[in-house]
Amino acid sequence: MELFSNLAVGFSVALTPATLMLAVFGCFLGTMIGSLPGLGPSNGVAILIPLTFSLGLDATSALVLMTAVYYGAMYGGRISSILLNIPGDEPALMTTLDGYPMAKQGRAGDALVISGVASFVGAFLATIGLMLLAPILARVAFLFGPAEYFALYILAFSTLGGVASNNQAKAVLASCIGLGIAMIGLDNSSGLPRFTYGNLHLMDGVDFLVAIVGLFAVAEVFFFIESHGKKSSIGVKLEKVTVPVRDIVASTWTMLRSTGVGFVAGVLPGAGASLGSFLAYMSEKSIAGPNGGFGTGSPKGVAAPEAGNNAAAGGALVPMLTLGVPGSGTTAVLLALLLTLNITPGPTLFTERPEVVWGLIASLLIANFVLLAMNVPMVKIFVRVLQVPPGILLPGVTMISFVGIFSLSGSYFDLLLMVAFGVLGYVLRKMDVPTVPIILGILLGNAMEDALRRAMVLSDGDPLFLLSSPIAVGLWVAAIAGFVAPMFLRQFIRKPQAVTD
């Protein structure tokens, strides 16, 4: 019954006209950002964070707006996957496998509607899962001491490095870059400067928003300059949009199973939405068997990754809100938002700021219905967005990034740092070094070091204290397994590459 009273609190926050409008606006903006090729949820949310501050919103409203954008971008990512064969973001890659062939067969409208409904099923059920699971996990999180938190951070980095990237060494390198950058600034416990080399700008440390916008948005601009925007010229025309009832009914179980798979993948810290859509697609493919038509434009092949991807997006909010450990790149960006709004995620968030958590959950429930309405009957509006030429879009993104970062601190130094991060992001991504662990490292570095140091204070310097509780041991085992296992599995499971014309 506690759940219902909590939900009542949530809806009383979410149903105020102002919050409701923000949620609708966020959904619209998010779907648009998601459907723009080259502007995925991470980039989109990242460049909007600084601007949210200039609107002067309170914490709940800002959070509602940005998570609506996040969910919206997850829905919108499928549009460019299906029509242009360009995934708007990494999780949408799996949608291209069957979505684009379907569109080429003249069933683009059907693919969009099926994936829209699948997104709704995935996201809606995952939000309910979040509602049920998060308070339980928040209670478990009270048992976490510094040793457990340290193990949890290790788990987040190792699953992110092990599962979500192609080369473990490069994932370790990326995590180290992030953690190394986090060390810059004043030491949390002694207050003495570290790695500042006498530079006053570095005393505060490197602002993670600068790093995020640089690594995601500015680096993307460089990629478009490299390709001269040629990637986006081919496309499939969308004729009439009707609702393919039979296909939707036929893929009901696919959607439900994929939602389960995706949600679990999302809850795992560090694994995220890409893994969710990948596992959902692969498991449905093996259930359907070789005659299932996966890869040739099967409606189930469109429904599975979209349900999985959106369920994972909801699931990723569970560890982010209860433990402060994001489950994916975009939730890392949302964590950055929370930290800038001075909200510390963790178990205490549920007891001390229930209006934030439950207001957020209620808005997400509402946002899902808004998104369903926007993404099925109104999908044609967003298809128009695809026609924005990259020659206008990317300079626009650059200018918004500059003004956003400039409005944060008003210093040249941050702008230059942002450009430097853009170059770094471009080079690293070229060399297949993942950039999400860098963000995670910058965000979690200080908390991770604090956890280690507090654990050592408690045990008077005995390193075995890190393995002193069953929870900590379990997390370490999971971390090592998550890091090592993919090395062996990689020979058997290959990530499918995008379909080429």
Partner: protein
Amino acid sequence: MRSDRVLGLVVILVALAYIASATQIQVSFLSDPVGPKTFPILIGAAAALAGGVMVFRPDEEPDWPALATLGALGISVAVMVVYAYSLKPFGFLIPTTITAGILSYQISQRPLFSVITGIGLSIGLFFIFRFALGLGLVPFPKAFYG
């Protein structure tokens, strides 16, 4: 192959420099058992190890862009750096028009289109930032107002 080896070596060097610089961190007289040096040194060691693996087990060579494209990228970086410095003294509109125009040209390769994009973006974004978001942007250099 070669790129990974080079990056691996660079990583090892930077990691060693990082560790060396970590040993120079001041320690306050009242310190915890771990102190401010240990964690950075651990990070440096892990990074050096990753660099070593990259030297000995490199991935396939990525396809680097041609020289002309590298030039275009270099120009874009330079333009962004200049833009960062000119935003305050020259106001929003003029630097934004020029920067957006150049970036647009680098992507689309169409001169007229880029000029229109530059002008349109700077004016459009100025109105959004100034009036919808309430940012205190200055449209023109201070000298214009006398």
